[in-house]
Amino acid sequence: MHFLPTIAAVFIYWLIVGLGGSVLIQFTARHLFSSIFFFSALGSLLLLVTACLALGQTSSHMIIPLGIPGYPFYCHLDALASFFLILLSATSLGTSLFSMDYFQDLSRREMGLLSLQYHLFLCSMLWVFIAADAYSFMLAWELMTLSSYFLIVGFKSDMQTRSAGFLYLLIAHAGALAILMSFALLLPGEMHLNFAAMQHTAITPVTANLVFMLALAGFGAKAGLLPLHVWLPEAHPAAPSPISALMSGVMLTTAIYGLIRVLFYMLPSVRSGWGMTLLGIGLLSALFGVIFAAMQTDMKRLLAYSSMENMGIIIAGLGLTVIFRHYGSAIAALALAASLLHCINHAFYKSLLFLGTGNVLHATGERNLGKLGGLIKSMPWVATLMLIAVLATSGLPPFNGFVSEWLLLQTFLAFPSVPAVELASVLALATAAFILTLALTAYVMVKLYGVIFLGQPRESQLTHAVDATFWERAGLLWLTAGCILLGLLPGLLLQPLLHLTTQLLHLPASTMTLQARYNPLIVSMVMLIAAAIITLLVRLFSPVKPRRSAAWNCAYPVKNARMQDTAEGFSQPIRHIFSLFLRIQTEIPGVADKMPHYHFNAEDRFWSALYLPLVRIASKCATAISKLQQGKISIYLTYSLATLIILLWWVL
């Protein structure tokens, strides 16, 4: 069956909903704004069903006669694209449902902007996944960057948001340029822009290396890999929460999609050196991301760094794929499937976390962890669903994060099968770094959840925080259900994924069996049965009803909310261990200080070591060039004359 027309229909439908909504909301009642997102959620649902059906089918193509004459838009829908469309539709279904109630306090102008840009953003991501030629891919890619840029800067006009948006735009465009160049190198002799033609280009090893490096730089900028990560912690907190959820859950993975396309679809073969590069950059990004996440005091910045960590993990998985593919091992298919599974798992739990912080932000107006606390009493819905998200993010059984991390660990463990013992040793060390990252994630998540939801409220107004409303709950519940379902029944998605990756990597369709198994259903059932029996037995043997009293706290009489750890306090041990790698400024009050004020700031060393010098060089060049501009018409006339003479001399 041909599914591409349906997907194109969803594209047009979203476009109509976005455009129509932004016009109509100017004239109709404001409360109708939520219905726009209801229609958009319907589109997501249709897309989800279609993409699920298309996952097992053979690939199909379509040519849309738009664009420049002679270069129509090529579209394709293969298993890889279908998988990413599932990811997009599932996440956007959650964010759209959530958005129905979330954006009630915007002005009409902002509602119009949001409706248009939100749907353009969804459309552009859909287009990225189905674009089958370099031209329309770049168009879609740029549309994605621009629409998300307007979503970041459109709702707040303070300096910080503006500069965050500028930084994002700058790095995104540098990245797009690198992608464009890598496509250009892959072009066959005549101008065939579609990917299928680029596949058969004969390229030299040097060119192949160059294509790889450019693609890594370009897509790495979008995924937030080291050292192009600086926009991520700035842009995510600036955007409204549902937008951050989409950016983090889906937009970052478009980079993974693009990298997979270039690596395994367009380039004829892969080298183990590329694999080591990907593995190294991925693991460094992951470690860096999680250490910085531990330092953060702003909840959305913390989540942004955590996204960087997850992207690093996925890139490391791609690195493993390349290494094992180079040696022709069937493990490569498993590594790629695990990475893809981690993409969708990350999309579910990270968008859930971002939406949850949106609720907290709405209810309290506070993004700073130091001013939250105790919200589990006033916001039980958000607190319970966030607990599941936190457990899933930490990679704990039986939730979805654990499944992909289990699979990745299994592929890491295949390192003794690599013939070169030096490479195997490096992989062993990489395994250790990977595990360290995973362990630190749990620390970060306990900090996030504990400081926001547990303990006593650190400010008095927190006791009146309101819980999520109906549609917000619906969005959160959908994403939570995904976290649980993908955790309990990973086979549903893993089987088609393994099929997909075996074909993509041109591996023989072997029935690869792992020696070890993990059955989440049985494990969670045993745990639940054990918990039920314990509860029953305890009821039986200890029937006394508990009594409520003040907290004991070692009989220490003074108990106030300020004695709890803040986010800074909680991350102190981590800061202590990694102090070598961080640039920390602390301001500790003296003994006699009447107004004691504690302040600390962990700065990204990349700013001072890489970006600030770059900025300095750029502004120096600009000053040098500005000497040309004298503001006198006679000088400009001289320039024109000189140019004319030089051109004439050139021609003659």
Binding site: G374, I376, K377, L391, S394, L396, P397, F402, W406, Q410, L413, V421, S425, A428, T431, I435, A439, L440, A442, Y443, V446, G450, L454, G455, Q456, Q515, A516, R517, Y518, N519, I522, V523, V526, M527, A530, A531, I534, V538, S542, V544, K545, P546, R547, R548, S549, A550, A551, W552, N553, C554, Y556, K559, M563, Q564, G569, F570, P573, I574, H576, I577
Partner: protein, 313 residues
């Protein structure tokens, strides 16, 4: 299959019921080594009964998470009793959960306890949670790498396969010797033993585990204490399964199961005495030395893997 499941259940019950006895044995040995009479081997059981009878006192602002955490913690530890081969190496549950799942469940249990400790919002609770997560962040990778050492030898992460492969080994594997040391260090840290934490005091500013359980009383405390005892026993069983796997039968006529149980108790007694001896001779280290202590374990475990790669080939 039916017999296997029955043995599975018997093993879990055996470990759950035996756990307080191990705590009693270690405490009794420590008392003897200090020239004291000691409270007797069964004292932990009496304590548990006393706690179960008492009326629990909850802090005013304790939430549902606080009340559910002890049960979940205990349930996690019970699940682990089903993963580690003790009475038989052919446990059906090892088909559903391997060593990575085992470490995951340990981490899940830690997470519940740490979150519950933060729930009441006292300074001690937060301190305990922070320190516990800190120790866990260093101990968990070391534990996983130790287990990977065994998994590389048996080429499988399933504990059944590991026990069978390691029991069949006739020569001493040099990598495993390093891993054993690393495992012991992790065991000390994970179970709040000296020199990382002192199990016999609380009301100390340096406490870790006790600080988390400080607000608990009555049956909640009973569950936490029992589960902690079970955690120690689980770690013992895991260590024995990997480093001293001899005597765990692969097939199960009833008699061998009894034999395995007896042998297990004997091994536990010897190692428990060793633990008591070590705890009598060492002092607690500073909290920030703990990171060096555990990093040492982590590096040892990695060295063990490299050794296997280079010597094995």
């Amino acid at each position: 299959m039916i017999t296997a499941i029955i043995i599975q259940i018997i093993q879990s019950l055996f470990l759950i019921l035996l756990a307080p006895l191990l705590t009693g044995w270690v405490r009794q040995n420590r008392a003897w080594l200090n020239n004291k009479n000691g409270p007797g081997l069964l004292q932990p059981y009496y304590n548990l009964r006393k706690l179960l009878m008492k009326q629990p006192v909850l802090a005013e602002n304790a939430s549902f998470l606080f009340c559910a955490a002890p049960t979940l913690y205990f349930a996690c530890m019970c699940t682990i009793t089903a993963v580690v081969p003790v009475l038989s190496s052919q446990l059906p549950f090892t088909q559903a959960a391997d060593v990575i799942v085992l470490v995951g469940i340990f981490a899940l249990a830690r997470m519940f306890l740490a979150l519950a400790a933060m729930d009441v919002g006292t300074a001690f609770g937060f301190m305990g949670a922070r320190r516990e997560m800190f120790v866990g962040f260093l101990a968990e990778p070391a534990l996983l790498i130790v287990l990977f050492n065994a998994a590389i030898i048996s080429q499988s992460t399933s504990l059944s396969a590991i026990v069978i492969a390691l029991a069949a080994q006739t020569t001493l594997n040099p990598g495993l010797a390093f891993a054993a040391v690393a495992f012991f260090l992790v065991l000390l840290a994970e179970n709040a033993r000296l020199p990382v934490d002192n199990p016999s005091t609380h009301l100390e500013l340096t406490m870790i585990h006790e600080a988390m359980a400080l607000e608990y009383s009555g049956r909640y405390l009973a569950l936490i204490e029992w589960a902690s005892a079970l955690k120690l026993l689980n770690f013992f069983a895991l260590g024995l399964a990997i480093f001293l796997p001899w005597g765990i039968p692969a097939n199960h006529p009833v008699i061998t199961v009894f034999f395995a149980g007896g042998l297990f108790i004997l091994k536990i007694m010897i190692i428990g005495f060793g633990l008591a001896l070590l705890e009598t001779m060492t002092a607690k280290i500073r909290l920030f030395r703990v990171s060096e202590f555990l990093m040492g374990a982590f590096v040892l475990a990695i060295l063990a893997i490299l050794l296997q790669l280079w010597v094995g080939k």
